[in-house]
Symmetry: C2
Subunit: 138 residues, 2 copies
């Protein structure tokens, strides 16, 4: 059985990069810079089910991503969460939050319907992230 991102996550996002352990997805909601890490492991729903090594790698990937986003998007706060009540496949949200974003100070889930990116916005975001990843991974 090969790893596949859960269909519902695929539907809501664009794959934008790969770390050693995790796929990096951009959630298609232009209201917040909202990213998701999905460790490429099968049948895992909770972080503690990963091997100890995978847990440490995930922590490193999460912190690299969070710092990169916080610095470059000038976040007021990062929201990092493994929820998974609707999509059981382990995935970790990394959301850039601003004190003037539409949902602040509430968490974003279930708050407002997604507003998809326009094609040019999406291309711009993809390019930005690809450059940031290159700068931060080398």
């Amino acid at each position: 059985m090969t790893f596949q991102v859960h269909p519902r996550l695929q539907q809501d996002s664009i794959e934008i990069g790969r770390f050693n352990l995790s796929r990096l997805l951009l959630i298609n909601d232009s209201q917040y810079p909202w990213f998701v890490l999905v460790p490429e492991r099968i049948d895992i729903t909770e972080i503690y089910q990963l091997s100890e090594t995978d847990q440490q790698v995930l922590q490193q990937e999460s912190s690299l991503l969070a710092k990169m986003l916080a610095d470059n998007y000038h976040a007021d706060k990062m929201n990092i969460a493994a929820i998974g009540n609707l999509v059981p496949q382990l995935h970790i949200h990394h959301i850039v939050r601003y004190k003037n974003d539409i949902a602040w100070p509430a968490p974003v889930w279930g708050k407002y319907d997604a507003v998809p990116y326009s094609k040019p916005q999406l291309e711009k975001t993809k390019t930005k992230i690809k450059i940031l990843l290159k700068e931060n991974l080398i």
Copy 2:
């Protein structure tokens, strides 16, 4: 400057245990088994601001707690999150979720007002957690 749990967290919770790095709090809301880890570090608002060693220890403490809660409370899902939009001091939620809990499948934050534990309920929960911690830490 000595470490202190943020006054707002203190107000909403009961300190129930200590790990090497983090304090363990029980949120005083009987609607969900809801715990919080607070690393005993000053002026930290994001996980990536912790030293690499502290990040790894936090990951270990988080997984130990999450597995212990999932197993003993027979969770349908664990919700683990560092949000901090209202309380800036780094704290990581660990919430036992059930498919028949009041907020499922929504996240719990901002959903329903807390229903505090009764004194006997609180004593029972404290005793349960203390026994579990002893069993899992030795």
